[in-house]
């Protein structure tokens, strides 16, 4: 039973570019949440997808967008990258059927130069 997977593991981009990060949830899970973790900080909630729709959103600008596919996998897109977008991006999967624990993937480390 595969856990949450994310790709790529590392990414280097320059300011102004666009990036797409990918996440496959744990088997049996239908909900994907994305978090940003800056160095030395705790993760911060970006948004959550369920049934291919954004259900909840944290305090992040519209440059951050996402998508969920019919197989429950998800993408996080960030446009017009800023130096401050450098962070570890974590994907968490869960089931909308009431299970409280969110299972996290290994993350994608993004460096913006």
């Amino acid at each position: 039973d595969a856990g949450v997977t994310q790709s790529p593991t590392h990414l280097i981009k320059t300011r102004g570019q666009q990036v797409t990060l990918r996440c496959s949830p744990k088997s049996g899970h239908d909900t994907v949440s994305w978090y940003q973790q800056a160095l030395g900080q705790g993760p911060q909630f970006i948004f959550q997808y369920y049934e291919e729709e954004e259900r909840q959103r944290g305090n992040f600008p519209d440059r951050f967008s996402g998508h969920q596919f019919p197989n429950y996998s998800s993408e996080l897109n960030v446009n017009a990258l800023l130096l401050g977008d450098s962070a570890l991006y974590l994907c968490a999967s869960s089931s909308m059927q009431g299970l409280e624990t969110q299972y996290f993937g290994p993350g994608t480390r993004l460096l913006v130069l």
Binding site: Q48, L99, E100, G105
Partner: protein, 112 residues
């Protein structure tokens, strides 16, 4: 914004000693969870305690929750070098699939 604050920010102990980390939060919660993170990798779920629970155990972990003080503590007994990691508390306002709100974490170093 961060909901919780862990205390201390960093902790260094000898192998075999107990490690205690504290977490304070600001708003009412449904549950509080503790996660471990090794070297900037993914988060591993350790334990969840609901707002109507006061204490919970899992192996060498003991978690307490005081909702009147809006605080929680995580005790790791008989620590091992492999426990070296960052520990985060995260609160959830409602049951199931609401955003987790994390603190800044405690960096634990266990010296062999």
């Amino acid at each position: 914004s961060q909901q919780g604050e862990e205390d201390p920010q960093a902790l260094s102990i000898q192998e075999g000693e107990n490690a205690t980390m504290n977490c304070s939060y600001k708003t009412s919660i449904n549950n509080l969870q503790w996660y471990r993170q090794n070297s900037g990798r993914g988060l591993v779920h350790l334990i969840l305690i609901r707002s109507n629970e006061r204490e919970k155990h899992s192996g060498r972990l003991r978690v307490t929750l005081d909702t009147s003080k809006k605080s929680s503590s995580l005790l790791i007994t008989a620590s091992r070098a492999a426990d070296t990691a960052s520990y985060f508390c995260a609160t959830e306002k409602a049951s199931g699939n609401t955003p987790l709100v994390f603190g800044k974490g405690t960096r634990l170093s266990v010296i062999a």
